[in-house]
Symmetry: none
Subunit: 197 residues, 4 copies
C-alpha cells in the first residue's frame, strides 16, 4: 500500500524545485510551477516549506551537503594531492553533466540572489558542509608539503571560481569541447597554481 511518506514528499519538492530554479531562475519559477511538477496542490506545498525563500535555503544546504560528502570521499582516499585535484575536478564536471541542476543552482541561484539568502545564510553558513571539506583538502595538502602554504581564500577562490567559470561557459554552450575534455588541463593548471614552490 506504499503510502507516500512526508519525507518522500519533501524530497519530491526538493527535486522538482531544484530543476525549475536552476533552469528558469528563482524569480521566474513560481510556487504553482513547482507544485504542478510534484503533482501537489499549491496549498499543500506550504505544509512542507513555509515560504519560497525557506525552500531556496534548504535547497542550498542540501546541495552543499551533497557536494561536501563527495569531496570527503575523495579526501579520504589514499592518493596524492595532485590526484585528489583531478578527482575533484572530475566529480564536479561529472555532476555538471549528470545532475546539472545542482551546480547550476549554485551558480545561478545562490551566487546571484543575495537578497534571498541574506537572512539565515549569512557568510558561508548554508554552504559550510562543502567549504569545510575544501578546507580539509587544502590543509592536508599543505601538511604533506604538496601544496604551497597560502591563504585559504586565495586557494579556494581559484579552485571553485575556475570550476564555476568552466561550467558557466559550458552552460552557455560556448565551450567547443565537452567538459570532460578539459579535465586534464584544468587539473594541471590548478595543481601548478597551488603546488608548493
Amino acid at each position: 500500500m506504499a503510502r507516500i511518506t512526508k519525507e518522500e514528499r519533501k524530497n519530491g519538492i526538493i527535486s522538482a524545485a531544484l530543476k525549475l530554479f536552476s533552469e528558469k531562475g528563482f524569480y521566474i519559477t513560481t510556487i504553482p510551477d513547482i507544485a504542478e511538477k510534484v503533482g501537489m496542490s499549491v496549498g499543500n506545498f506550504y505544509n512542507y516549506f513555509t515560504s519560497k525563500d525557506i525552500l531556496a535555503k534548504e535547497l542550498l544546504i542540501y546541495i552543499s551537503t551533497y557536494l561536501g560528502e563527495n569531496i570527503r570521499d575523495i579526501n579520504e582516499r589514499d592518493i596524492s594531492t595532485q590526484e585528489k585535484i583531478y578527482e575533484i575536478v572530475s566529480m564536479y564536471f561529472n555532476m555538471a553533466e549528470e545532475k546539472p541542476e545542482m551546480i547550476e543552482y549554485f551558480l545561478r541561484v545562490y551566487l546571484s540572489n543575495r537578497e534571498v539568502f541574506s537572512e539565515g545564510c549569512e557568510g558561508m553558513l548554508c554552504v559550510s558542509p562543502f567549504v569545510t571539506e575544501m578546507m580539509m583538502f587544502f590543509d592536508d595538502g599543505v601538511a604533506s608539503s604538496e601544496l604551497h602554504d597560502q591563504d585559504f581564500f586565495s586557494a579556494f577562490g581559484l579552485f571553485m571560481g575556475y570550476l564555476g567559470g568552466m561550467v558557466f561557459l559550458f552552460g552557455e554552450k560556448i565551450l567547443p569541447q565537452p567538459l570532460e575534455w578539459y579535465k586534464e588541463s584544468i587539473s594541471q593548471n590548478i595543481y601548478n597554481a597551488l603546488k608548493s614552490r
Copy 2:
C-alpha cells in the same frame, strides 16, 4: 544654462540602473526605483530605453566595453606577461572596490539571468569587447613563449573564474582581508597555472 542633454540623461539612467541592479538584483529592482533614482518620471524612462530587458543588455555592453578598454591599455604596455597578469588583477580588484556595481553586475545579473540575455546576447555577443581583449592577452603571451600554449577557454575560465570568485567572496564579506591584500598571491597563482612549462 547647462541643459541636460539626451546623452547625459541616458548616462544618468545607466549609472542609476547599474547601481540598483547590482545591489538588489534584476528582478527586485523596479523601473520606478530606477526612475526615482534618476529623478525622472516612469514614463520618461521609456523614452530612453524601450524595455527593462533592453536596458539590461545595453548595460552589459557598456560594462564589457569599459572592461575591454582597460585591458587593452594593459595589453599595449611594454611589460612582461607576468606583469600584465598583475596589472589585470589589480585593475579588476580596483574596479571591484571603486566601482563595485560594474563587476557585481557581471557576476550577479549577467551570469545568472539567462532569460534576460538569451535574445540578443547569445553566446558571448554582448560581452565580446572584453573577451576579445582577453584573447589578445593570451595570444600575445603564447607568442612570446611566456605562456603555455593551451586551449583558450581553459585559460580564460581560470583567469575570470578566479577573479569572479574572489570578488564574490569579497562581496559576501567573507574575506578576512581587503581585496588589495590578495593581489600578489592571486597573480602568482594565475601565472603559475598558465606559464610555459
Copy 3:
C-alpha cells in the same frame, strides 16, 4: 449552504463583462471594473479567464450560441417563411430591449474591434453557431420556393445589416418609436426583398 460553484462564478463574470463591454466599450472597460461588478478580486478574475481578449472571444461564442439556439427554435416551427421572418425580427428586437447587452456586444464590440478577435475568431469562426442557423433558414425558404434563390451573403447582409442598423438607431435614441413599433414594416420589407419573384 449554497456554495458558489466555479460555473456560477464564470457565468457571473460573463454577465458582468457583457454589460460593461456593451455599455462602455472594450477598451474603456477595465478588468478592475469587471471584477468589482462581480464582487471578486482582480487576481481571481484571472483564474477564470486567462486574459481580457480571451474573455471577449468567449463572450462572442456565448452570444452566438444563444442567438443560434433562438433562431433554431423558430426554424423548427411549422410556420411559413414569412412568419419566420417576423418571428426572427421579433426575437431580435425583443432581445435588444430585454437583454440589450447581447446585441450591443455584437454591434459595438465584435464588429469593430478587429484586433481583439483576429486571432482565434478568423472569418466567422466564433460566430458560426448563429450564422449556420441563418443559412438553414434561407435554404429552407428557397427549398420551399418561398424565397428567391440568391447568393447567401446578399440575403444575410440584408437581414442582419438591417436589424443591426435599427438596433443601432435605437441605442442612439434616434428612433421616435419603440423598436416594437417597427416589427411589422421591417418584416414586410425583408420579406419583399427576399421573396421569390
Copy 4:
C-alpha cells in the same frame, strides 16, 4: 516656394488619421502614430486639433459631408428612383473599395465608440449632412409614388444597415465575390423592399 498652408496641414492630419483609425481602431491608434504618419511633431499636432476626441468628431463630419455630397449628386440626376438606388449602392461600394478608410471609419469607429462621440455628436448631429440627403432621396421617391410611403427610419435602417453589413463582410474577407459583384442583387433587394405596393 510652396509653403504648406494651415489648411493643407490639417488635411494631412485628417487623411492620416482616417487611415490609421479605420485600420487599427480608435484606441489602438496613438497621437504619435498619427503625427509620425503626417511627418509632424506630437506637440504640433495639438495646434491643429485640441484633442484626440475632437479629431474623431471632425473626421466624422468630414466623411458625412463627403458622403452627403455624393448622394446629392445622384439625387439631382434625372433618373428613376430605382436607378438612384443602384447609383447609391454603386457609389457606396466603390468608395468601400477605393477609399475604404471612409466607410470603415463609419462602421468601426463611429458606430462603436459611443463614448467618443457622445458629447457634441448627440443624435445624428455630426452625421446630418449625409442623413439629410438620404431623407431627400426617400421623400422624392415617395413623392413620385415610386416608393412606398413608410417611416423614414424603417427605410433608412434597411438601406444603410444593408450596405454596412455587406461592407463589413467584405472587410472581414468573408465574401466569396468582390463587392462589385453584389451590386445588382442588392439594389434589386432594396428596391423590392421599398417600392410602392
